[in-house]
Structures are given as C-alpha cells and as structure tokens.
Symmetry: C2
Subunit: 382 residues, 2 copies
Amino acid sequence: MAEKRYLLTPGPTPVPPEVLAAIARPVVHHRSPDFRPIYERCLARLRDVFRTEQDVLLFGSSGTGGMESAVANLCSPGDRVVAVVAGSFGNRWAAIAEAYGLEVERVDYDWGEIPSAAELAARLRELGGASAVLLTHSETSTGVVADVQALAAAAGDAGALSVVDAVSSLGAVPLETATWGIDAAVSGSQKALMTPPGLAMAAVSERAWSRRGTGPRFYFDWERTRKAQAKLDAPFTPPVPLVAGLDVALGLLLDAGLDAAFDRHRRLGRACREGAKAMGLELFSPDDDSSAVVTAIHGPDGIDATDIVSALRDRFGITIANGQEHLKGRIFRIGHIGWFDVFDIATALAAVELVLAEAGADIERGVAVTRALEVYHEHARV
Amino acid sequence: MAEKRYLLTPGPTPVPPEVLAAIARPVVHHRSPDFRPIYERCLARLRDVFRTEQDVLLFGSSGTGGMESAVANLCSPGDRVVAVVAGSFGNRWAAIAEAYGLEVERVDYDWGEIPSAAELAARLRELGGASAVLLTHSETSTGVVADVQALAAAAGDAGALSVVDAVSSLGAVPLETATWGIDAAVSGSQKALMTPPGLAMAAVSERAWSRRGTGPRFYFDWERTRKAQAKLDAPFTPPVPLVAGLDVALGLLLDAGLDAAFDRHRRLGRACREGAKAMGLELFSPDDDSSAVVTAIHGPDGIDATDIVSALRDRFGITIANGQEHLKGRIFRIGHIGWFDVFDIATALAAVELVLAEAGADIERGVAVTRALEVYHEHARV
C-alpha cells in the first residue's frame, strides 16, 4: 500500500483537494476570456485578505521574490534601511538589502525573542531616521509573531516606510495592512493561503508608490505589474494553474471568513502548545496566543531534534521541521498554517510521543493528544 | 455540454495529462526524500535537453525572470552589451539591459527579418567589443528562428559572452548549448517543455561563471542557486508541483528523443505553412524549415487579424495569437510548440478557413487541411 504522507511543516502546507483540482485543469491562455475572470477575482480576493483597497501585485516567484521586489522598488543604492532581525527570515531581509547596496542597520534580537516597538523607535531616533524598516510578521524559524502594528507605527513616526514580510502570517493571524499603515506587505501562496509555492504578492500603500527608489528591477518592477494588472493582463506569462488554485483557495478562506481562520489558528497553536507541555516538553516559541502559526519545541535533554524529525519522516511519512541554522538539532517545529485541523496536531503529537518514548526520553505517555483536543474545543468561539 | 478548448498559441502550450496528473498530486516538502529524487532527475534531464554537462539553474519565475537573471549575473552597471533585435523578445532583452543601467547597443532588424552573424561581427568590430551579446533563438513574435550557432560564434570571436533567449526554442529546434559555445541559454517551462508556466532555467558556461558582474541580485543570484542545487536543495521554496510536472514532461520528451521532437516540429511548421498557402494566404514568417516553432500569417486584405483571433476564440474555443505591437491586427500566429500533432494544425487551419470564408475573403476552400496532413506525412523521417 502507498504510504500516507502528512505535511506538517510551516510551509509548504497541505493543499485542499478543490485547489489541487483547479491546478490540474488544462492550461488556458492568460490573455483569454477563460483566464481573465479568474485573475480579476483572485486579485480582488487578495485585496480582501490583505485588508486593503490598494492594488495587490501578483508575481510568479517564491515569497522571497516578493521581499526582493519591495527592496528593489522602494530603495536606492546607499539608502539607509533598518532590519529588525530575530530569526532566519529577518536575516533574509538584511541579506537582500545588502545585495542591493543599501546601508543596513540591524536591530538584533536573540532568536525567539519578541521585537520591541519602543526599541525600534529609539534606534530610529538615534540614527536620525531611515528610508525603510524591514519587519517580519511571523518569524517562521522561531514561532514568534511580532506586533507589526506597533512596529509599523514606530517606523511611520520616524518617517520610514514600513515593509512587512507576511509570508507565513497572512490568513493565519490578523494583518490590517491599510489600517495599520503598513507601506508594503509581501506574502506567498504556500502558507495560510493553502496553495502550492510559486506565487508571491505585494500590497503597496499610496505612500510607498510615491517613494519608489532607483534600484534596478524588471521582472519584479511594481509599476510594470500594476499597469498590466489594471488591464487584467499580466506583464509576463503567469503560472496560470497556480493563479487558478489560489483563486479557489482564497474563496475557501473568505467564504468561511478571515476571523474564523484567525480563531482556528489561535486554537491550533494553543492545542499544540498544551499537548507538548502535557507530554513534558519545553516550548521554544512563546507560550501565548500570539504564537498561532508554528510551534517550536525543544528536544528533550540528550535527544537531537534532527533524529526526531528523521524518525517521523522515515517511519510514518510525517514531515515536520527542524530548527534552522544554530537551532538545528535543538528544536523541532510543527506548523499549523492553512488547511489544518486539530487532528493534524494530534497526529504530530502522537508520533512525537511515540518516537521520544522509544528513544528513552522522560515524557508522560497518553496525555498529549487528549489535552490538545480538549483545549482546541474549550476555546472555540461558538 | 462544456465547450472544448484548443490552446494553439505559441505559449503557454497544451500540457499532457500525465504532466497535469503529476502537478495535481498532494504537495510534498521540498527538502524531503519525497522531493529530492524528483528534483535531481529533473535537473539531470534539463542538462540533457540543453545539451550541456554544466549545471542548469532552475528558478520559480516566467522565462523573463530567467532572462533577467542572465543580465543581473553577467553584467555590471555601465557595461556595454549588444542586443540583436528583430521582434518583441529582442526588445525585451534591450529593456532588461537598460533597466540594469547597461550601455545597450542595438543591432536592429525589421520584424520578420533573419539576423545576420556577419552584421553582428561587423558591429562588434566597429564597437571594439562588448561584454555580452543578447540573442533571441526563436523570436515568438515573428516566427523567425535565428542561427544562434553562427551568432554566438560571432560574439565569442569578439570576446563577448553569448546569451541566448531559448524560451520558445528549447525542445522544439536544435540547440547545442555546449557545442555551440553558448555562454548562457535561458528558457521556460511553458513552451516545448510541455509544462505550465512558472519555471525558468539558465544553462551557464564555465566562461560565464568566471565573468560574473556586480549587478544586484538575490532571488535570481546564480551562485546561490548553484550552491543549493549541488546539495539537492533549492535556495527558496520552489514551485514543487511544477517541478514534478516538468520532470514528467522532460521524461516524455527525452524518452521519445530530442531528434524526434525536432523532426515533429519541423513537419508541423511545414504542414502549417503549406496548409495556409494552399488556402491562398500569405506567410509572414519565413517559408523554410527553420520556421518550426510558430507560423505567422498575414490576414487577407481588408480583414483585421484581431477579428480572426476573436472569432476563433468566441465561436470555437480556439486560442491562437494576434500580432504584437505594430503587427497587431496585421498578422495572426499559430503556435505548434510542444504537445502538438498535425490534427492541431488541421483544427487551426479548418477554423481559420471557415471564419475567413464567412468574412468574404478570397480564399480556396477545402484544400488546407488535406494539404497539411499530406505534407506532414510526406516528410516523416521513417
């Protein structure tokens, strides 16, 4: 029998069958009447999900391409930018900015720490401002969800553009792009938007449009994409099946309502944390409801997290994530983004429990799954 | 009954059901043992299709992203490059190079003309060389397939890197990347590689690796991608389903053999040209076997090609392509790239014949399809 597979990483994430079915349809031409209504609806739904009236630009690339588009379009060589770094994806912002010849000032945190808006404001005062502040909403490497509303306000107060990596947060936790005054929010298809990887998006404020830089760009040029999208065209041949899939996925998300998705992610995070703690494990990600995207957990003493990840994969076909960079082997991460319910959490916890018990770890048997289900339903907003 | 659809444009092109089925499979993690063998095989097959032993770099983007990657990685601001321009995609090379602050010297041809290696060589002598020459193998806007072997040799003789847009040519007409000394050949998934749009590739020579420039790049940085691919990793989350689909499509292409594909495209082009001429239409693209990718045809006097394209689409669900830019309305284009057989040509010709007859054009009825089928089989290499 074909072994079952469980994709429980923080991205890519499982894709609902309706979305896979849309992706598998024969390819239509992107300038034909078979595609334009799909494209139009998908772009409108993206505005709803980003909570903005402004154009959301759609690119055929990974989320990193969307991040790069923000740096390439908003900055000019030599500009000073501030990167708030508390994990792997904060580092990515800094690396992109350096590749574009910017003067990068880092506000560094230990991985797992929660960035502070007051500290960002102080640093911006000290520097005498910056052209942009590069922020990470959900730091997938640690499970921390930052208060980007407060961080963006600190950037705005200092006259800097706020640029937010919302790759793993969009659709999982609240993001009010317009109301919070975020100048550029970028995301990707392969997390809470329940679509395979291959599409990036950027929601751009009026202020950001008026402050574009001179950095070189072509494929990721915002103006070229905005002009083309205004005619329901695409500047370059888009990944037609992925756009069709994203349209279906966004429909599923919006039909149930963003609030329902946020509530579900919050409860999934709580179930995962409470289950892990019930087993006797120590959390790495914050033990509060902000941590609704990915739960990072310390491996028990003497057990390498790499072995836990490998055992789940090799024995059960379950993919969870290792720690990244210096946290590799020290933590493991269970994603609960997008098309997840509590039984996915139960699967992950049950498998981790079995593997740890067999490895001789000092854990409590038989309580994690029950506790996870209990907590998940206890906190349902009925 | 659901109306049938016929995608007969020069890209995106029809995707075989085996490829669609691979794309529709549940998403697996790109760093898991479920994906790595697919990725490895796909990269190996790409080397076979490009006819090179060098790494072929794979990006999640349209073909234009692959073109931009060549400019961003090989050139430095202020470098002189020569763009050979004989259509829309030659113009794209020039536009990308200008966006990167290069000094762009154009060797211009009327659209539909075939670029000359001798003229390129003369221009390079006159200029005292260039850092790179930007070439278009198959100019999709006109149907012209250039002699990139001779053009690349002229570039090489002048000490310039030869950079070839092989987006619509790769897998349709011969391209010997290594033997012809091409320094960078870029392509895309959505033409003769029979996969939906969303993947670009770049085959890079040793000489090109040693002559990289200082232009800013991150997502399209070749070195980052090469290093990651060497570990069977990807620098950023790749479009997993499209890679799986491309792997299957390349398998279909290589199992039948590249020569069989080239022979089929040559015969499809001949069938399309002979059918169109039998009807009494005038060809825009060259009337010779080099024109194996797309056939461009003048609309008959007094009939706007836009109306032909619209009628095929609205009445029969058939998508063919209009002329681009100044040729819009003057020519129409029938693609025969990738997963095509002669009955696709017959469908296009039969529909064009009906629409033109009803519009009162002075055409010969009842001969085009027969002639196309006859010519296709006459010239089969048995």
